[in-house]
């Protein structure tokens, strides 16, 4: 029996690794404010088993949050054959950057490829829009 059935909204801890996607990069050259850029950026790609544990389906929205901030993005499958339980991928974008910590240990280099965060179903809430990034704070 899946533990998700006993919780209103199961949460799942992940380490997020950001990556570059050429389709997203190409769309960014055209416009950072387009629907297409949002579609290709606001996504978290997870292990198929992890998606199941969350009780969501591919294409559903999920809340991804930690002490640094919170974003709502779409859930996608990574498509990798090898299991990568607990590791999720997000294209490098303003959406993934909301989750980055200010604490770099003084190194000046944020942890773009090792963001600890918690994922849960957004229960149909829509993806964080571009306007959110133009507000004065995104800290929740």
């Amino acid at each position: 029996m899946e533990f998700g059935k006993f919780l209103a909204a199961p949460e799942y801890k992940v380490t997020i690794v950001t990556y570059r996607d050429i389709f997203q990069s190409a769309v960014m050259e055209g416009s950072r404010f387009s629907e297409e850029y949002l579609k290709l950026s606001a996504v978290i790609r997870m292990d198929a088993g992890d998606i199941k544990k969350l009780g969501v389906k591919e294409g559903d929205t999920a809340v991804v949050r930690n002490d640094s901030g919170k974003v709502i993005v779409r859930v996608g499958s990574s498509g990798y054959d090898a299991s990568h339980q607990g590791i999720a991928y997000m294209p490098n974008s303003p959406w993934s950057n909301v989750l980055l910590s200010a604490d770099t240990g003084g190194s000046g280099v944020p942890r773009y490829k090792g963001i600890e965060a918690v994922v849960s179903s957004a229960k149909g809430e829509s993806v964080t829009g571009v306007d959110g990034f133009l507000e004065n704070t995104m800290k929740h």
Binding site: S31, D81, P94
Partner: protein, 421 residues
């Protein structure tokens, strides 16, 4: 210096590969067709759908007023920050360094949280590098480590590293070259490597390097994660036999290690027994140019603070990185050139930019420009203005404008700001 082979060829400024064999078709003042460039390069050369206008406080003004307002902000700032320049020509970068000196600014670029450590090791000659032309002509073993060139520099394999014939590589890729990918995931690049893909866990790069050095030294390699030792020995054997090897380092490796020591150690070991080189997978088309230009001027490639009125006083360190400068709220004004820190930096850190006057110089609207006090539109380099840039391997590439514009190039804007100070 690269000379164009054909008078119809142009240079693509989509990334630091600076492809120099691009033909275009133009019409109504725009590029309408691009030949041979990749998907990303085509998007760059065709231009954006949201060109930036000259503005002050969100109101459209003429460009002279915007330049005047920018000079006013920088004159009044006690600790200004100059950031970006990866998408500017060498000439513009030199102007920006001059401006930073004049106003006593912190100056930094994206290398600060990107390939800075790799380039520093190359500039200081701790690591041997080579040119992409030599890779094409000679390399028999190429390694992509934490790099997904398929997505970041799509023509890397076809123009230089794996598929083309070269002077000493006449028989084609299947027989003449071996391509290896080391990564945490089976990226598009890893797929091209076929069975020469070595998948390692997150943050395990340093440990894998140690195991590889052991294997190269004839010891039995050991790793704490499940990995077939035979495959490490097999990899070491390929590297050992290389006649001309090159490692292309991506951010996956750079971010996974605390400093470059493990990479330097591996390169030293490889060069005891074979012939290895390293090239960083630089992203922005002229990031390496900025690093080179600042290095020539100060001995540091990024994270520099100039003292106002004393051009010999140069400070350098992590506290002068853009990340720590904003984190410590140590800047009271920012000049952002060809970059979008509000979108590329951690949001909690970038938010300081919303509390200080920001000037953006860019051809297109960005998240940062939409919140900036002053915006100054500039010509898109490589398309609307010419100049020169440094390719990821350190080779200088010159380019001419393709179409006309009335938007001035970065260097002209920076010169005019300096005149108005």
């Amino acid at each position: 210096m690269v000379t164009l082979l054909n008078e119809n060829y142009h240079v693509c400024t989509g990334c630091a590969l600076l492809c120099d064999d691009i033909e275009v078709v133009t019409g109504s003042g725009r590029i309408t067709e691009v030949k041979t460039a990749c998907r990303k390069g085509v998007a760059r050369m065709k231009g954006c759908s949201e060109p930036m206008s000259p503005t002050v406080d969100g109101q459209e003004v003429d460009i002279d007023n915007a330049i005047g307002a920018a000079a006013g902000i920088l004159s009044n700032a006690r600790s200004p920050l100059v950031f970006g320049l990866g998408n500017s020509t060498n000439m513009a970068q030199k102007k920006a360094i001059e401006l930073a000196k004049r106003i006593g600014a912190v100056i930094d670029d994206t290398s600060s949280f990107c390939q800075g450590p790799t380039l520093e090791a190359i500039f200081n000659e701790n690591i041997r590098s080579t040119t992409l032309d030599d890779v094409r002509n000679k390399a028999d073993v190429i390694v992509y480590w934490g790099a997904d060139a398929s997505n970041s520099h799509p023509r890397h394999f076809s123009k230089y590293s794996y598929f083309p014939r070269g002077q000493e590589r006449q028989r084609g890729w299947e027989e003449d070259r071996i391509m290896i990918t080391i990564d945490i995931r089976r990226s598009h690049t890893a797929k091209i490597s076929g069975d020469k893909f070595y998948q390692i866990p997150l943050q395990a790069d340093a440990e894998f390097i140690d195991a590889l050095i052991d294997a190269l030294s004839g010891k039995v390699p050991k790793v704490s994660f499940g990995f077939d030792i035979k495959r490490i020995l097999e990899l070491a054997n390929i590297l050992k036999k290389a006649r001309f090897g090159t490692i292309f380092v991506g951010l996956g490796l750079v971010y996974s290690i605390d400093n470059m020591d493990p990479v330097v150690k591996l390169m030293d070991k490889l060069n005891e027994m074979s012939n290895f080189h390293l090239i960083p997978m630089v992203g922005h088309y002229n990031m390496r140019g900025f690093n080179q230009n600042l290095f020539n001027e100060t001995g540091y490639l990024n994270r520099v603070k100039f003292e106002k009125g004393d051009s010999t006083d140069v400070q350098h360190g992590a506290e002068f990185s853009i990340v720590e400068t904003l984190n410590n709220k140590a800047a009271d004004a920012a000049l952002v050139i060809g970059s979008d820190p509000l979108s590329s930096l951690p949001r909690v850190i970038a938010e300081h930019l919303l509390n200080i006057p920001v000037i953006t110089i860019d051809p297109c609207e960005t998240f940062t420009s939409r919140k900036a006090k002053v915006t100054i539109p500039s010509a898109l380099s490589g398309v609307e203005c010419g100049g020169s840039a440094i390719r990821m391997d350190g080779v200088e590439v010159k380019f001419e404008p393709i179409i006309e514009t009335n938007r001035p190039p970065d260097e002209e804007i920076l010169t005019r700001i300096m005149e108005a100070l």
